[in-house]
């Protein structure tokens, strides 16, 4: 292997172990590796440009917006009312609030198309509410993080569009249809796993009779429910893009919590703003750094050489497919989703097509693999946002994440083995 590969991986691991902030570790290891190919000034200038380019995207605005609206909803009583309403629906189930969380994240991720936005919008208010109902903060965070990624598969999904472009020809409409059933399957698996986990750990307040309050709670929640209606309705009927919906959500929750519910005072507003700036900046530094690192990886041709190395082991189709899945999981562990799709689709697609796997099916497999990568350390943007929102650390959130990883793997296996889960809907709805 090339010297720059060794430098990159070794320095990354060393810096992580020393507890250097992860964003700094990522950027520095890319920087050290690039020094072997370019002079000092070109290296520093290129790294600075790649970091800034990493956050120079309109779609990323969804992150600050939904972080801000999430905090406002939590502080301003909107969240509480929504949760009280949702509890009416899931009262009798073990882990009821976990289900509410998963459903909300799935729905929100599906509509907004951004897992990070879903984690910040939903996690920002559901995690504190779950804590009130005696769920552990770590478990609540883990549920939010994993459930938010299901929206990558359920349309509309920008990442499936990126895949279509990178594959040079798969229909976006077909990919969108293909994503529904696998996305729902992942959400179901997560529900089963978290239901069992919550039951074992005894999370959740025992159910009480609340029949008299149903009407009052529903009425109470109406203005808050209108926010959901506004965001989702506005996107679906084309009044605004998912990114713009974030700004609308901020404005509505600001007006509702400050002037109507009057539960947020001016002083608290400045705190909410500051918290949002911090959480946004933490995530943005990570995105900036990892996009610089993935640039260095491509520049040094590292993805190609690693996959060549792995795929040279066997010609057996099952082993090749297994290798590709392992590689994709590893890739998702280090790289962000969009660069991963851009770099690896052209490498893997011809191989799997030769094995007789349809490009639609492979697209779903690839996105699910990378979705799992969004919630795994060392690099996982959704995991990081979850930790900041849920005010917990990586080390503490891992144990409750384990059963949820298992659930996602089970879903992945089912989706790989049953191609018709992905291909059936497109085949009947597109002639």
């Amino acid at each position: 292997m090339d010297i720059s590969v060794v430098i990159l991986i070794a320095s990354f691991i060393a810096l992580l172990l020393l507890n250097v902030p992860i964003g700094v570790s990522i950027a520095l290891s890319g920087f050290f590796a690039l020094l072997f190919s370019l002079d000092f000034i070109s290296t520093t200038t290129t790294m600075a440009q790649r970091m800034s380019a990493g956050v120079d995207s309109f779609a990323l605005l969804a992150i600050p917006f939904f972080i801000l609206s999430g905090f406002l909803m939590g502080q301003g009583g909107i969240a509480h009312r929504l949760i009280e309403f949702a509890k009416i629906l899931v009262m009798r189930l073990p882990g009821g609030l976990a289900f509410v969380n998963i459903l909300s994240c799935t729905l929100f991720g599906a509509i907004s198309g951004s897992a990070v936005a879903a984690t910040s919008a939903i996690g920002g208010f559901v995690i504190p509410e779950m804590e009130k109902d005696r769920y552990s903060r770590e478990f609540s965070t883990a549920v939010t993080v994993t459930a938010s990624t299901t929206g990558m598969l359920i349309p509309p999904s920008n990442i499936l569009i990126v895949y279509s472009l990178a594959s040079g020809g798969v229909s976006i409409a077909a990919l969108f249809l293909a994503g529904y059933l696998p996305g729902i399957l992942v959400a179901l698996c997560l529900m089963i796993a978290s239901g069992i986990y919550a039951k074992i750990k005894g999370f959740g307040v025992p159910t009480q009779k609340q029949s008299g309050q149903v009407m009052k709670k529903t009425l109470d929640a109406l203005p808050s429910l209108f926010l959901v209606f506004l965001v989702i309705g506005g996107i679906v009927s084309g009044y605004f893009t998912p990114t713009e919906a974030g700004a609308i959500a901020v404005l509505y929750s600001f007006v509702l919590s400050t002037f109507i519910y009057k539960e947020v005072k001016f002083e608290e507003l400045t705190q909410v703003l500051n918290k949002s700036v911090c959480t946004t900046a933490i995530v943005m530094l990570l995105i900036a750094a990892s996009s610089a690192m993935s640039w260095v990886l491509s520049y040094e041709n590292i993805p190609q050489s690693i996959s060549d190395y792995f795929l040279s082991f066997s010609n057996n189709p099952i082993i090749v497919l297994l290798m590709i899945n392992i590689l994709l999981l590893m890739v998702g562990t280090f790289l962000d989703m969009t660069p991963a799709v851009l770099i690896f689709t052209p490498i893997f697609l011809p191989i799997v097509e030769a094995l007789g796997i349809s490009p639609i099916h492979f697209g779903i497999i690839m996105i699910l693999n990378l979705s799992i990568g969004l919630c795994t350390p060392p690099v996982g943007s959704v995991l990081f946002v979850g930790c900041s929102i849920g005010k917990t650390s990586l080390a503490r959130v891992i144990p409750p994440l384990l059963p949820l990883y298992v659930a996602m793997f089970v879903a992945l296996l089912i989706i790989i083995c049953v191609p018709s889960l992905s291909t059936w809907l497109p085949s009947i709805l597109i002639d």
Binding site: T43, F58, P156, L165, G168, I235, G238, L342, P346
Partner: protein, 305 residues
């Protein structure tokens, strides 16, 4: 192992590996290796792996990327003269366009980048841009009235759609497919291969061939890279680029025809436009350009036959 004497050029661009531009780049790489007898090689990074067009131009200036292909409109913020290409109906025909590009004006525009550390190597055909819409067909500027049309993030594109009566709406390229689908915008504009390859024809079922602008692609290198090449190497690069340009123009023509046929098969209704009405609607833009600092260049282009 590659010996120390081999010069490797890093070439990055934003299109996928099936796009005619990429194939022409591959052709360039093959010719260069041929001419130089293996002394020069090209490593190609497709699909925007190394950045968007604007970012790639910066990387060329920095010197970490050697070559790229960008639209002339992406060069506008770097080389002000390139704004001229965004003028709608500037060229009377494809022949007129190529007479300009292959003549002294084309040469002059290539050289205009030198103070900005950019050196043009050749023009690729990028066809003509036309409108496509989702809800109803457009046959004249009148039909564009009140329609939200996605444009590139540039003042010239905004001014053009405004002059034609539409509502120019900047949406990022990545968000465009869903924006068309959900109805955030009613239409967009691009060349035929992009309309086909972006799959926008799945949601936009009306295409009108009004061919309002013909903005060429430009293959550029940085003066930083260029200065490091010796005369012999520069000759090889130029020669290989000439071959690649000829190759691209033929391939582009073929792919455009194929794209048109494909979108028709996919159920897109294609209209021929009465271009005179569109041309009439953008007259004010021509007047404005004539009286601006680009006036001289404008007149010179119009005089070419």
């Amino acid at each position: 192992g590659i010996s120390q004497d081999v010069k490797i050029l890093k070439l990055a661009h934003g299109l996928d590996a099936k796009h005619p531009v990429h194939l022409s780049m591959v052709h360039f790489a093959e010719r260069l290796e041929d001419y130089s007898d293996g002394e020069m090689r090209v490593k190609i990074y497709p699909s925007g792996q190394l950045g968007s067009e604007r970012e790639l131009i910066e990387l060329i200036q920095i010197g970490s990327v050697d070559l790229t292909k960008v639209s002339a409109s992406s060069l506008e913020p770097f080389i002000p003269k390139m704004r001229i290409f965004s003028t709608p109906y500037l060229f009377r025909s494809s022949d007129h366009l190529w007479a300009v590009l292959n003549g002294s004006i084309g040469e002059e525009l290539m050289k205009a980048g030198e103070p900005y550390r950019i050196r043009g190597l050749g023009y690729y055909d990028a066809g003509s841009r036309s409108f496509y819409t989702t809800k109803r067909a457009v046959s004249s500027p009148k039909d564009l009235q009140g329609m939200k049309i996605r444009v590139m993030n540039s003042p010239s594109a905004v001014a053009m759609v405004k002059a034609m009566g539409g509502a120019p709406t900047p949406i990022s390229w990545g968000e465009l497919y869903t924006s068309l689908q959900q109805g955030v915008v009613d239409g967009a504009e691009n060349n035929l291969p992009s309309f086909y390859l972006s799959k926008h024809y799945e949601v936009a079922k009306y295409l009108i061939l009004d061919e309002h602008t013909s903005i060429p692609d430009v293959v550029i290198t940085g003066t930083k890279t260029w200065d490091l090449l010796n005369d012999q190497q520069r000759k090889w690069v130029n020669k290989a680029m000439d071959d690649s340009v000829a190759f691209e123009r033929k391939l582009w023509e073929k792919v455009s025809q194929e794209s048109l046929a494909e979108v028709k098969t996919a159920g897109v209704t294609v209209f021929e436009a009465d271009k005179s009405q569109f041309l009439e609607s953008v007259r004010p833009i021509h007047e404005q350009i004539k009286s601006s600092d680009l006036g001289e260049l404008y007149n010179k282009i119009r005089e070419v036959h």
